[in-house]
Symmetry: C2
Subunit: 133 residues, 2 copies
Amino acid sequence: MKVINLHDLDGTDNDVDHGNWRSRRFVLARDGVGFSFHDTVLRAGTETEMWYANHIECVYVYAGKGTLVNRETGEEHPLAPGTMYLLDGNERHTVRVEEDIHCACVFNPPVTGREVHDEHGVYPLLTEETSPA
Amino acid sequence: MKVINLHDLDGTDNDVDHGNWRSRRFVLARDGVGFSFHDTVLRAGTETEMWYANHIECVYVYAGKGTLVNRETGEEHPLAPGTMYLLDGNERHTVRVEEDIHCACVFNPPVTGREVHDEHGVYPLLTEETSPA
């Protein structure tokens, strides 16, 4: 059993800030449970293009307000507390944020914690065995 | 891409109420993404013994207040917004609830949606292939 408070992660290697967003990772590939689990804040006033070409992601908004754009179809979805979106088709998508969005995120395969979005907004597929130290 | 609001699940087969708790399931085994994802409310004043002998569970509290007891060790942990607990050793545990706890839950293997806690508080391991209709 592991019990971790969000603020226990502040300033650690599991606290990743990319400007538009900050992600604190509770569970990573090295935990060996088959998924990773993060708390992510998307900052008000930002718009971020993302594309998880190698991962399935589930996002659950528990605070904040914004819009999710499916760039494959142009469709827009309001984001508010209680909205879940599942990227089960590696969809290119954009999140526009009106009020700081706080969300719980699940990735499969699990993120190692060393990925960064590349120029396409893509997380590379890293595994515990192959990822750089 | 799937986008679902919590209240879209109200009163559906994905809305399961067992008295002490209510679980609304956004993502289940049939979604084929390798995990299931639920929003669960544990009701104030209740105490529930649980044991996921066949599943890893990650729980993230985003509202409410209570106590998690690891029944294997007797250790107690406060539960409040921002607390994550990962049951990576199939630990028998109890949750005592002071104020309604709202949490996001991830299960691996994914729950099919047809499990119920048995007399030991255990979810049986069901798969999409073997579970009853």
